[in-house]
């Protein structure tokens, strides 16, 4: 164990009083305190409305249906609002993109509304100015541009699918035909759309039906976790798998990828291959399927893997998916294969995202035009190319060459800093707009709150350039009135309550004209060079969530790192080069160099290094989050992978990684082979030595991954050291089950819990000291061959070890079986945490919540106490939701219905791995899940009788394809 020096303790003690003198003072005042104690509670003010909104009931939150957009695609969300204060984001159950679930990023989006780095002032050349002046200059620029038919006017936005915005641009083009509209985001679906043009002759976007698919083949496509895919995909895949339980054939998922993704990690049919080899393998698969010929020379492992896929490819219920980081040729082959084998599983709609040139090409062109002085006026909305474009494009200096540059963004960023005019843009939760979902469903974006910093809307700004200035609301109404002539009011009111303006467009049935191009050959390795793969970060993505403390502190699903990025190397490479996790390396490509700490991850392609975008920013939280900027070596001509050399430095960096925190040194992940599911006794436990890797590099040494039978556990069932105080009989007995087979490890539950329960972030230093506060954590167990995720909230043990040791009765049991935490009794001894075998209790070492800015406090959930320093806390099964349901049931003199209470983690889980309910109700889903033969209890031998139970992961049996 590491001993802490006195210095480090003193450093933590911020404030003018030293630790010692504080203790002295405490002793002196303790006697006085006995007499005086507390004074009267301070008198509070009540500030009622002047005119209360008609439908506002204080104390009852309202939910508004709107959308979150990513890569131009809308995801339906419901935003909870307390007295006009947006506090939480959940999925919209009526929206096809997620059916009521939400990903970690979608939920954490609420924090960006209260971002301490939101831009508040209008500035010209860094001097405060006014909107009138800015507007005047803006309109003048446009008038000048009109004289030249729009020549020299460039508008840069992020990818958008808004029908209203597209129409506004269409109308503008009539008066400004030479105006340029560029849409840019570093990662997009462009390759898929581009490939569809080659294969089908027109730009199309595919919609996959996972509820129909029997075989899914992913070429570097992270369908379970990439924000470019709807959460619906993971949801449908897992719900089909659950409904197929007990049947002979479960859906097969094959993943071919160079760097582990959550999709690849979930399945056992994964081929680990360098990124550059994927096109060859894809082509080989096509040849084998079509002509049964071999064209490429592949190694034996790959051949066997392809053979496995081929044996499953028949009929019309297959899916071939190429990811956003796969080259066009892979997309072409996948489109073609889907047109043969995926007739029932793939539908196409006409593309609504940019289809002409890739966003990166567009940006390159803009950069050239800027450099050559062709750009008179550049107006940017939201996009941040100074940070998130290849550094070789020199975008910062390019912008300076524009005669006028206006930058509208809701957050201070690098591009704003180099633009002449900086104007706050209204946050999407503050303004009106619309957007299309993955299947073309048009979704309404409605404001929850007036713009906090008087932000402008893009619709409003564009209307300035036409005859008549309109607000965003008017723009939207005008467009939709023209589209929905007859029943506008009806559709509009429905859209306001349900979030959907028009349902999905008709699908098209294209014919594939794909012709196999010549034989693709994999570029051979150059000695001393290594493949560098560019990827967005798992949580921060392309850098857009850099200022989001929840996502910064959310352990990245695979590496469990927080607050910074690393260069991921394979464990073989780390072993060969004798690298330790955190050892610094310098990666040199023909575009530049970066210095990054390494992190060895099993199942990374042997000679590939993955670098992650998103970090190394020069604005916002840059003093808290660290890391390197991968854009500085990003190759605009080869955006997915390149080659480079690596120099190893003799420098070690301590990484804020939670992999070894809250370690349980026992077998807690169980698996079952699908043939044996009906028999309870066959639940297996992987070998403990390989189950929890304290250091992922050592994972390689553990070749022994035998499966032990749980019968060997010689403990007496129902035996317990804890006193046998039976719980009083109650109508309800709350219980939770977590299905490890459905869990993809996406960690949406962690953010859901954090936003529901006012959980603070502790920062990078806090994580290094193992003080992260998440009430539910997602443990990751892995070896070279296998990988498991296990979400762990409080177990709510019926015989809770924590309750026995609390000297002040701050943790006690309720009749309905909750292990209650009473904050106002807690004196912070932390005995309970020490005695908890599951390590689920969290301690507030500091008053982290009171450090929040005034703005951030608006996010807090008023139904949950905001805890202070010195208090223990843990998962409560969302007791505020239980109480709300109980009160409404009691008022109506009825029992609480099954499914009426959804804990935050359960509601958000994209794959519905978590169920919660009353185990006394024999018909309840949770009871059925508890009676499932896969059900098991963590550390059952301790006799704690937990209310949270798990369902073992289903594994393919030996010798099974």
């Amino acid at each position: 164990m590491k001993t802490e020096s006195l210095d480090s303790i003193n450093n933590e003690w911020s404030g003018s009083v030293s630790r010692r003198s504080f203790l002295e003072m405490t002793a002196k005042f303790l006697a006085l305190a006995g007499i005086s104690g507390c004074t009267r509670l301070p008198i509070e003010k009540i500030v009622p409305y002047v005119n209360a909104p008609e439908d506002m009931v204080p104390g009852i939150p309202k939910f508004y249906a709107t959308a979150y957009t990513h890569g131009g695609l809308a995801h339906g969300i419901l935003v909870e609002s307390h007295m006009g204060r947006p506090t939480k984001i959940e999925g919209n159950p009526l929206h096809p993109s997620n059916l009521g679930t939400a990903t970690a990023q979608q939920q954490a989006y609420i924090l960006s509304l209260y971002d301490q780095f939101r831009s508040a002032d209008i500035t010209q050349n860094n001097k405060k100015s006014s909107w009138e002046k800015c507007k005047e200059q803006l309109t003048q620029s446009v008038i000048r541009a009109k004289e030249k038919q729009g020549q020299g006017l460039y508008i840069l936005t992020e990818l958008t699918s808004s029908p209203t915005l597209q129409d506004q641009f269409f109308q503008l083009k009539k008066t400004l035909p030479k105006m340029k509209w560029i849409q840019y985001e570093p990662i997009s679906h462009f390759n898929s759309i581009n490939a569809s043009k080659n294969v089908f002759g027109k730009a199309l976007q595919p919609i996959y039906s996972f509820d129909e698919a029997t075989t899914v083949v992913c070429f570097d496509a992270d369908i379970f976790n990439s924000p470019l895919y709807p959460a619906r995909y993971a949801h449908d895949f897992m719900s089909k798998r659950r409904s197929d339980e007990g049947k002979q054939n479960l859906t097969s998922l094959f993943v071919i990828e160079p760097t582990p993704s959550l999709t690849g990690t979930w399945t056992s049919d994964r081929l680990n291959i360098a990124a550059k080899e994927i096109p060859t393998i894809c082509q080989e698969l096509l040849h084998r399927l079509q002509k049964n010929t071999e064209v490429n020379n592949l190694n034996a492992d790959t051949k066997t893997f392809l053979q496995k896929i081929i044996s499953q490819c028949e009929g019309d219920r297959c899916l071939f998916i190429a990811g956003e980081n796969a080259p066009v040729v892979v997309h072409e082959i996948c489109h073609h294969l889907n047109s043969i084998y995926g007739k029932k599983t793939v539908n196409y709609i006409e593309a609504f995202l940019p289809a002409e040139r890739s966003p990166l090409e567009e940006l390159k062109k803009l950069s050239q035009d800027l450099q050559s002085g062709q750009v008179e006026t550049l107006i940017t909305f939201g996009a941040n190319p100074v940070y998130n474009s290849p550094t070789e494009l020199q975008f910062a200096s390019a912008i300076a060459k524009a005669k006028k540059s206006f930058h509208f963004s809701f957050c201070q960023d690098e591009t704003a800093n180099v633009s002449e005019w900086r104007v706050p843009l209204a946050h999407p939760l503050e303004s009106w707009s619309d957007a299309r979902a993955f299947d073309g469903t048009v979704t309404l974006i409605q404001p929850l709150i007036e713009p906090l910093f008087d932000g402008k809307s893009i619709h409003n700004i564009l209307s300035l350039f036409s005859d008549q200035e309109l607000s965003d609301y008017q723009c939207l109404q005008k467009y939709w009135k023209s589209k929905l002539s007859d029943d506008f009011e009806k559709v509009w009111n429905k859209a306001l309550s349900e979030g959907i303006i028009s349902s999905k467009p008709n699908t098209v049935s294209p014919k594939s004209n794909f012709k196999t191009s010549g034989n693709l050959s994999t570029p051979s390795n150059v000695a001393g060079e290594i493949e560098i793969i560019f990827r967005p970060d798992e949580t921060i993505w392309d850098g857009r969530f850099f200022n989001n403390p929840w996502l910064q502190e959310l352990p990245k699903p695979l590496t469990k790192l927080t607050w910074e990025n690393v260069a991921i190397v394979s464990s073989q490479f780390a072993k060969k080069e004798k690298l330790k996790n955190g050892q610094m390396i310098v990666i040199k490509t023909n575009k530049g160099t970066i210095k990054a700490p390494v992190f060895a991850l099993p199942r990374q392609a042997t000679n590939s290094i993955t670098v992650a975008f998103g970090y190394g920013r020069k604005s916002g939280l840059d003093n808290k989050a660290q890391g390197y900027n991968a854009y500085s070596i990003w190759d605009a001509d080869s955006p997915f992978y390149t080659t480079g050399t690596v120099t190893i430095l003799d420098e070690l960096r301590e990484l804020p990684c939670t992999q070894t925190h809250h370690e349980i040194d026992k077998d807690i992940v169980k698996t079952i082979t699908k043939e044996k599911i009906p028999h309870t006794s066959s639940i297996k436990t992987p070998n403990p030595s390989s189950a929890l890797m304290s250091d992922p590099i050592s994972a390689d040494n553990s070749t022994n991954n035998e499966i032990l039978d749980s019968k060997k556990n010689n403990y007496k069932k129902n035996a317990s050291l804890f006193p046998n105080n039976p719980l009083p009989e109650a109508e309800e007995a709350w219980a939770m089950t977590i299905d490890l087979d459905s869990c993809t490890g996406c960690s949406a539950c962690v953010v859901a819990c954090q936003s529901e329960n006012n959980i603070p972030v502790v920062g990078r230093d806090g994580v290094l000291q193992k003080r992260e506060m998440h009430w539910i954590r997602v443990d990751h167990y892995f070896s070279e061959a296998e990988s498991y995720f296990q979400p762990i909230p409080c177990m709510h043990c019926e015989k809770a070890p924590c309750e026995l040791v609390c000297p002040v009765g701050a943790t006690v049991h309720s009749d309905d079986g909750l292990n209650q935490m009473v904050y106002n009794r807690c004196i912070g001894t932390r005995y309970c945490s020490n005695n908890c075998p599951y390590k689920v209790r969290r301690f507030n070492f500091f008053s982290l919540n009171s450090d929040d800015s005034e703005l951030l406090r608006l996010q807090k959930n008023p139904q949950v106490s905001v805890r202070s320093r010195g208090i223990m806390e843990k998962c409560t099964y969302c007791v505020q939701r239980i109480q709300a349901a109980r009160i409404s049931a009691k008022k109506e003199n009825r029992s609480i219905a099954d499914g009426e209470i959804q804990t935050a983690c359960q509601a958000t889980c994209p794959t519905k791995a978590i169920t919660f309910g009353n185990k006394n109700d024999l018909q309840a889903t949770v009871t059925k899940m508890r009676n499932n033969p896969r059900s098991y209890v963590l550390l059952e031998e301790l006799g704690t009788v937990p209310r949270t139970t798990y369902l073992a992961k289903i594994k393919k049996g030996p010798g099974h394809a």
């Binding site: 005119n51 009931v57 009852i60 209650q820 007791v879």
Partner: protein, 186 residues
């Protein structure tokens, strides 16, 4: 520790100066207003609701519209600035009390707030310490009343013991009553 049980600390019985000398006695006994005219959400929500300026101004733009005592109301309505009142009945932030459930289960306003209709200035009549809550939660039959009499401060039962037991059955109130910590603290 001992001190906090004295009225000085709990605020029991102390007078608080409000921006307007609003008299509950005048409005309830005199004008005959129901509690729910101003505290609109008391049956629906955890919060009883607090009247906006519009509620006052609704009547007082017509009657007593020149009274000097009502100047703050007129000012608030005119300038669109909220009135700032001082809270009399305060429970700590870690207590989550719900008005609506108490009302639907037959606990009258008077049980906690005292006879508000007789007060010219509202005074806290009980300590609002946890023992106050428990005093009732452990013996609900002594306090429960027909829901029709919730807002009637003058109602008294002829035989509270018998009626209490009947009502507990009728309203499905838990017996023995539950006092789980998480019911109020979370």
């Amino acid at each position: 520790m001992v001190y906090r049980h004295f009225p000085m600390a709990t605020g029991e019985g102390s007078l608080i100066n409000q921006p307007i000398a609003f008299s509950h006695q005048h409005h309830v006994q005199g004008a005959g207003l129901d509690c729910r005219y101003c505290h609109t959400s008391v049956e629906k929500s955890s919060s009883a609701g607090f009247p906006d300026t519009g509620t006052c101004y609704g009547c007082h733009s017509q009657i007593w519209n020149k009274a000097p005592i009502l100047e703050p109301v007129r000012k608030s309505a005119k300038e669109n600035k909220p009135l700032q009142w001082f809270r009399v009945h305060r429970i700590p932030d870690y207590v989550f009390f719900d008005h609506s459930i108490h009302i639907s289960k037959g606990i009258g306003c008077v049980s906690c707030h005292g006879a508000i209709s007789t007060m010219k200035v509202v005074v806290q009549k009980r300590s609002f310490l946890m023992r106050d809550c428990l005093g009732c939660h452990q013996n609900p039959e002594k306090f429960v009343r027909p829901v029709s009499q919730i807002f009637n401060e003058n109602w008294t039962a002829q035989d509270q013991n018998t009626l209490g037991k009947e009502l507990i059955k009728k309203y499905h109130i838990n017996a023995p009553p539950k006092t789980n910590c998480n019911a109020c603290h979370r």
